[in-house]
């Protein structure tokens, strides 16, 4: 019944499933929405949409599907809705018999669309009144609030029709950040990184020991308790905050927040491009608050797992030469420091947000990868999974 609508939701990236569609049909069968289209809108929303981020997209698609074309103020992916194909395919549904006759009177749909596009191109400014341009209040075939019955309504509310619809208000516009916060996947991948240990308060019944102690006690009950299992993996994170990392800030901070939620023992440090003799913990207060890298070796023992996150994209001199750093004079090369880290922490990996296929194009990435004994992984769910596996492997120091 609403299958086209269902598919258009799917096409524009709203995760809907057959199960939800069937639920909607069931609800319609029960007569839930009554006769009002507003109620039907609410019902569709509550059955099909499971995240407020998708509300805005849904509002637009609902409006488009159930009313024909009403708005050109669409988010970029939705703009495609305007392609001729979609309109042709949905011609019968979108337009009433009356409208169809009018479209024919204007030379058919193709011509109308062509002219619409042409006008869109020609027109640079907002337009009101007049009889040619797309705008508001005119008699041209395009725009809204106009008197031309064969006109297409473009955005805004209609002054000659009933009041603005809920989905036209698009209340949820700013909830749709199109970027899906997918820390869940990252968390699930990082989950594999765990070392169970019993520590702290006695919370669980130790069955084996209780039986043993009770037997020793000639059958008189003797309860033994143990602390519950907790994840005791300890992690150090090193973040590159160099300029070339700018495009990856979002995915990296997602990973960071996932890691922060998953690991109790987590310390993080920042560096710029390559690791040298010092790192820092507060990005705003780098200068004067540096922490010598050597102190990190003293403070954290080799049981810590080290994750370095950086694009490794720089000039090879920054790694290989003394004084090669871009922002200070380094007495020892970056390569030496990286080697020192991998020596001190046997479980060290490098996560690179740059796509794995492009690593070959930058010498610096190749050099770092070598320095890391190939333990460089892309920032994808698969890459995270592989890196965690490597971190969990014992004595992974291969030279």
């Amino acid at each position: 019944m609403f299958l086209d609508f269902f598919y258009s939701l799917k096409k524009y990236g709203i995760p809907v499933s057959l199960q939800e569609y069937l639920t909607l049909l069931e609800a319609v069968q029960e007569g839930l929405p009554g006769l009002s289209v507003d109620n039907f809108y609410s019902l569709c929303k509550t059955t099909l949409i499971k995240n407020e981020q998708h509300y805005d997209k849904f509002d637009q698609l609902f409006g488009t599907y159930f009313k024909g074309i009403q708005t050109v103020e669409l988010a970029p992916p939705l703009q495609q809705l305007f392609d001729d194909e979609w309109i042709k395919k949905n011609f019968d549904r979108v337009f009433t018999e009356e409208e169809k006759a009018l479209i024919e009177s204007l030379g058919g749909l193709d011509k109308l669309m062509e002219r619409f596009k042409q006008l869109q191109e020609e027109q640079k400014e907002r337009h009101e009144g007049g009889n040619k341009w797309i705008g508001t209040g005119g008699t041209s075939a395009f725009g809204n609030s106009g008197y031309n019955p064969e006109g297409m309504r473009v955005g805004g509310e209609s002054t000659h029709k009933k009041a603005i619809k809920v989905w036209e208000r698009r209340d949820f516009r700013n909830l749709d950040d199109t970027i899906e916060l997918n820390t869940r996947n990252a968390k699930l991948a990082l989950r594999q990184l765990r070392l169970w240990a019993r520590e702290g308060a006695l919370e669980e019944l130790d069955l084996n020991n209780t039986i043993k102690k009770t037997a020793e006690n000639a059958g008189m009950l003797n309860i033994e308790m143990v602390p519950s299992k907790k994840n005791h993996v300890k992690v150090l994170l090193f973040f590159d905050v160099g300029g070339s990392m700018e495009p990856f800030v979002k995915s990296c901070s997602e990973l960071f927040s996932a890691a922060k939620a998953e690991f109790k023992h987590l310390e993080y440090f920042y560096f710029h491009n390559c690791l040298y003799e010092h790192v820092w913990q507060d990005n705003k207060m780098r200068w004067g608050h540096e922490i010598p890298t050597i102190d990190i070796f003293h403070k954290y023992n080799s049981t810590y797992k080290v994750i370095i996150i950086g694009d490794a994209y720089m000039s090879p001199t920054e790694i290989l030469y003394k004084g090669g750093s871009v922002d200070h004079h380094n007495a020892e090369t970056g390569a030496e420091w990286i080697q020192r880290i991998t020596m001190h922490f046997p479980n060290t990996i490098w996560i690179n947000p740059i796509h794995e296929a492009e690593w070959g194009y930058a010498d610096s990435i190749q050099i770092i990868k070598q320095l890391m004994n190939n333990r460089m992984y892309p920032l994808t769910i698969d890459g995270l999974g592989r890196s965690v596996k490597n971190l969990m492997a014992k004595n992974k120091q291969t030279h």
């Binding site: 199960q19 949820f172 019944l205 309860i223």
Partner: protein, 279 residues
């Protein structure tokens, strides 16, 4: 039998549809929204308006899905066996029923509230899939399946602290309670303060919404905070002129603590006051 809000609870038409759909099709309803928009309250009000009993399960970070179903108290049984208690022969004496079990075996349909499901472990919702779908679960100790006599109306709230798994979402209806606009807010305030002076409300709401409009606030005041604040204003006997002449740069907001819950926001307000921005 339709839910249309109650004397104390103003439900938007959207929300009414969502609740009624969940009630009719007997599927759980997942409610999200800013803190203080009445998510938890909804379950109680639905129970009240449909005249049903309510069972609540407040989820904590240490909660396990199993605890909502039942817990087997092995230690108590061992102890009783030592004391030679007759009870020990029947294991069912040591099964402590959780809220889900209680709701399932109730003789009439009830409302079951699972509050703040996002607080628990990331796997928690996955462990409840079958229970929510089929409304049944298996009790290993008793070796029998507990099936709901009447499928309860399940209302689940989430504060968005973590994403819920798709498989879980698919089984629920979903509603996001957005922050009420002025008209609905007026209705809500009227429900709580039927006798308050109209003008005082208007002034208080103006101040309230102008605070909400400040960008960069860590924690924007919500409905429940407005209600608390109004109550304080009423008790404190403030009149309209006090609010009207309010200028942050010179005087403090009366009962500021009821609205602003974060010291950084207090600072922010002060700084804005210095730039002589009026409410």
């Amino acid at each position: 039998m339709k839910f249309t809000g109650t004397d104390n609870y103003v439900a938007s038409p959207d929300l009414q549809i969502a609740v009624n759909a969940a009630v009719t099709l007997q599927k759980p309803l997942l409610i999200k929204g800013e803190p203080g928009t009445g998510k938890t309250l909804l379950a109680f009000e639905v129970a009240k308006s449909l005249n049903k009993k309510i069972y609540t399960w407040h989820v904590k970070s240490t909660s396990k899905a199993q605890q909502g179903l039942y817990e087997y108290d092995a230690v108590a049984r061992l102890r009783d066996s030592q004391l030679g208690d007759e009870k020990v022969k029947d294991i069912s004496h040591y099964i402590n029923k959780g809220p889900v079990w209680q709701a399932f075996e109730s003789d009439e349909q009830v409302v079951l509230l699972i509050d703040e499901i996002d607080k628990a472990d990331i796997e928690f919702p996955n462990d409840l899939l079958l229970e929510l779908d089929k409304m049944e679960f298996y009790c290993y100790e008793l070796q029998r399946t507990i099936t709901a006599k009447h499928r309860p109306i399940i209302i689940i709230t989430s504060n968005n602290e973590r994403d819920l798994p798709d498989a879980f979402l698919r089984r629920c209806f979903f509603h996001f309670i957005s922050f009420p606009d002025r008209d609905i807010m007026k209705e809500i305030v009227n429900v709580h303060f039927p006798h308050i002076e109209e003008k005082l409300i208007a002034e208080a709401m103006r101040v309230f919404y102008s605070i909400r409009d400040i960008n960069n606030m860590k924690k924007k005041p919500s409905t429940s905070e407005l209600i608390d604040w109004l109550r304080l204003l009423q008790i404190g006997g403030l009149n309209i002129s006090d609010l009207k002449n309010l200028n942050v740069s010179k005087s403090k907001l009366p009962y500021e603590g009821a609205l602003i819950k974060n010291e950084q926001d207090v600072e922010l307000l002060k700084r804005m006051g210095n730039k002589s921005i009026q409410y």
